[in-house]
Amino acid sequence: MNRRSLFGIALSLLLLSLTFGGDFEVTPGGQLTAWQWQSAQINLYEYARNSAWLQENDSTNWMIISTHSDNSWGDLRRFWDPYGEYRNALTFSGQKHISPTQTFYGAITYRYDYVSRMNQAIDIQPYALDPFVISDSTEGDFSFNGPTVHVVYGQQISSRLWWGMGLDYGIYRGLKKVYSMPEIIRRKIKLDVSLAYQLNSHFTFGLSVRPYDTRDNTKIVKQPDGTEPLILRYRGEQVFTAVVSKSDRFAIYNGTEWQSQVMVEFSRLRGMLVLGYYYRWTEVYDNERLRLHDGFYQGEHYYVNTLWRYALNEQKNSFVTLGYRFRYIGDWAEEPVKKWAIYRSFQRRHQMRLGLFKTLHSSPFAVYADGVFDYWLPDRRDYLAHLYREASISNLQITAGGLWHVNPYFTLQAGVRFDQYRESAVWHYFGDFKSWGGECKASYRYGAKLFQVYLRYGKEQSSVSDFTRNGVIFGVRLKQTL
């Protein structure tokens, strides 16, 4: 149970980091392997972040201190991307059942990231879906740091009904080390209000509403030589306005995510089905008082996520996992004067997953294999640059590995991973590449203490050039069950 809980928390942190990042992007570096999905519980809390189900997710009280370091470097990158990314986090988290019907979870993460040789962009996410990118004309290093707080409260209010609230709050501050030396400050707050209703022992329904508000403030400062820097503000690809200015640039992203969930439980079968709608409105402007806009962006996402696991035996130590995700994104951006469209896109993203976890009979060994296929079909129309493109991007990831319970205290896990990324030549992102890597993990349990350390290595090799990218992820977790 404890082990599963740990994976659950790891998954929560992963999801938290994804939500902090906002819209998903094409980011081949540092992809996690499939073991979280294999080992995590399939329930409302861990799969759909329904805070109401916190109470039922894990019956124990615990504290965890963990560190995580995700590093990648190389020339296989997109135009705006940095050469090196060195992202580090220290997290303190804990869970407490404060009464038989109430549970509280809290986590504080401090992130320290260093990004080297960022190409021109002075934007935290230049490849977010909106077309607005702020840049100067230099390549330079950034250092980012800041705390993130994530708290969840869940309460059972009747025998079949739960409710919960969650809050994410984070500040992330970055400073570019060279001209034009901007400072970027991101503040994000996201609420979650959720309900869960258990219809019977087989079906449980969930509802979640998640309003959020993110604000970026890019402070352009007068240079040490007294000059005001030349800042380029893109409105799509290749076309930008150029401003000699030391005034701040602001961006507000806000919206709401609505989600309904169904959890299915039978003796050998567990599954989740999630239907969601995500809305984002973005305003980009100068001068906080006058609001001199660069433009506006609206994004709407409709998605379906489902994951099913079938136990192959009564002991439930071997199972098959099947998952599917679909997301449709319809979005557009407009210029500020006449409110005419400068960009529009319609994107479909499919992800299929098939996994096997098999405990070898009467032995301390288990093997796992996982295949994930992503297929993304963007239809992007950049009206200013006159670029109209509709072509696919796909990624196939295959993971295989083994688990060895050396003794009741000590567990080793090791695996390999292979990726095949393909993109149509019209996109000019990465080009096709292959990636392979390995991972290992050791867990030591001593009484109520659990110590884990993991290391992953991966290398991406372009199929169309000599460019490569290397990645190393490592981390340590210490858990104390109370």
């Binding site: 004309s137 209010i157 009747s158 025998s159 079949r160 009904l161 309900l195 209703y197 329904f205 509802l207 509403v209 007068k222 030589d225 007294g226 000059t227 005001e228 030349l230 380029l232 409105r235 290749q238 076309v239 930008f240 306005t241 150029a242 401003v243 000699v244 200015s245 609505w258 989600q259 309904s260 239907l275 709608y277 809305y279 409105w281 609206q298 709407e300 409709y302 557009w332 407009e334 210029e335 004067v337 006449k338 409110k339 005419w340 469209a341 400068i342 529009r344 009206y383 200013l384 640059a385 006159h386």
Partner: protein
């Protein structure tokens, strides 16, 4: 306990499905905005190029003199392709003098049309004359039709080649090492006699493109008789530096320039200015009690033959403006740190900005990319120098 749960079950169940229904209905009844129906980047401009020089006959069926085969350049004032290159579109006029541009983004543009017309001079020799038109065009409708009038392009071998106005790096507000550099781009000698250097009035006049003069507040004049004088020659490809004060400024501010070898000095006899050894370009307006000081971030300087200038209106602040007829102007350069500022010098003289990105007290200067390189668009003609080059070229 069980009874209590039963009591709660039904209302909660109703509430649950009510909320569930709302969630499912939300995408159908959401607060999302409608996508724009018009798309940017699809505007068109139909431009009629009509000659006003008299070189091209009026076509009666059209009612104007069409400039056929004129090269038109439409330069965005909002968008750029590289930090120093505005997004630019090119087209050529048809036989009716009509130029069509399409696929344009919303915004303001600087339009330049130009055509070289072959002529035969009175001796029977073949020669050519250039007609040119400039205009600011605002495109905020899907299809816009406009007219540009092409006139004889003034052409001078003597140009303003470099302007250093920002002042040296310092914390003492010192900027008295400003200078203007002229260059003779011809293979023959030209003369400075009676020429005037003027400073702009300092703000945007919305009607300036329709005027036949430029409003200025300073007029400083070389000695000699305008147009006919031959006392102050400039040899072919020679530079001429006119300093605000022709002294070694580095004695006061370490980063300032040594202009003690300047060819000329601006001198105002109407206030207690020290007259340094360099010959003087003298203030011609007795009411002006300042030296030839130009703005540190945005201003313009014009060079005219000095044959005509006259008092114009008086500003609300009591400034006496002077008018310099455009036909007498040999060259004019407007500079601005911010390329999005409103123009202060008419496009008839200069269609762009020099010095983009230069802030005050930066020690930077702006100079033509090659000595004498002149298209009457300073955005194209000028580059930024980290260090001024008085009397020589950066090349």
């Amino acid at each position: 306990m069980q009874n209590t749960n039963l009591k709660f079950r039904l209302p909660w169940l109703k509430l649950f499905f009510l909320l569930g229904g709302l969630v499912l209905l939300f995408p159908l009844n959401r607060c999302a905005r409608q996508a724009p129906t018009e798309t940017d980047g699809s505007l068109s401009l139909r431009l009629i190029v009509a000659d006003q020089s008299g070189l091209i006959p009026v076509k009666e069926s059209l009612g104007y003199a069409p400039v056929a085969g004129a090269k038109a350049e439409l330069k965005s004032r909002n968008y750029y392709e590289s930090p120093s290159t505005p997004k630019t579109y090119h087209a050529v006029s048809d036989s009716d003098g009509v130029v069509l541009f399409s696929g344009l983004p919303l915004g303001e543009y600087t339009l330049t049309v130009q055509k070289t017309v072959p002529i035969v001079d009175p001796k029977g020799d073949e020669d050519s004359i250039t007609v040119r038109g400039n205009k600011i065009v605002s495109l905020f409708e899907p299809a816009v039709t406009d007219t540009v009038k092409a006139k004889l392009a003034s052409k001078s071998a003597l140009v303003i080649n470099e302007i250093y106005y920002a002042g040296p790096k310092n914390n003492a507000y010192y900027f008295y090492d400003q200078f203007v550099e002229l260059y003779n781009s011809a293979d023959t000698t030209v003369y400075l006699d009676g020429l005037i250097l003027c400073r702009g009035r300092g703000y945007h006049n919305p009607k300036m493109d329709s005027l036949d003069y430029v409003q200025v507040i300073y007029v400083y004049q070389f000695p000699g008789v305008p147009k006919t004088g031959r006392d102050y020659p400039v040899a072919p490809h020679q530079f001429v530096v006119i300093a605000q004060d022709a002294i070694d400024h580095s004695q006061f501010i370490k980063t300032a320039l040594d202009l003690s070898n300047a060819d000329w000095e601006f001198y105002n006899p109407y206030y207690s200015e020290i007259d340094n050894p360099a010959p003087n370009v003298v203030n011609a307006i007795p009411d002006n009690s300042t030296d030839f000081m130009i703005n540190l971030v945005h201003d313009f300087v014009i060079l005219a033959d000095g044959s005509d200038y006259y008092p114009g209106e008086v500003s609300e602040h009591g400034y006496q403006y002077y008018h310099v007829p455009i036909r007498t102007i040999l060259d004019g350069v407007e500079y601005s740190a911010n390329p999005n500022k409103l123009k202060e010098l008419t496009n008839q003289v200069d269609a762009g900005f020099a010095g983009v990105g230069i802030s005050k007290y930066s020690g930077k200067s702006t100079e033509r990319r090659r000595p004498g390189f002149d298209t009457n668009n300073s955005s194209l003609d000028f580059i930024v120098l980290d260090h001024p080059t008085p009397g020589y070229s950066h090349e």
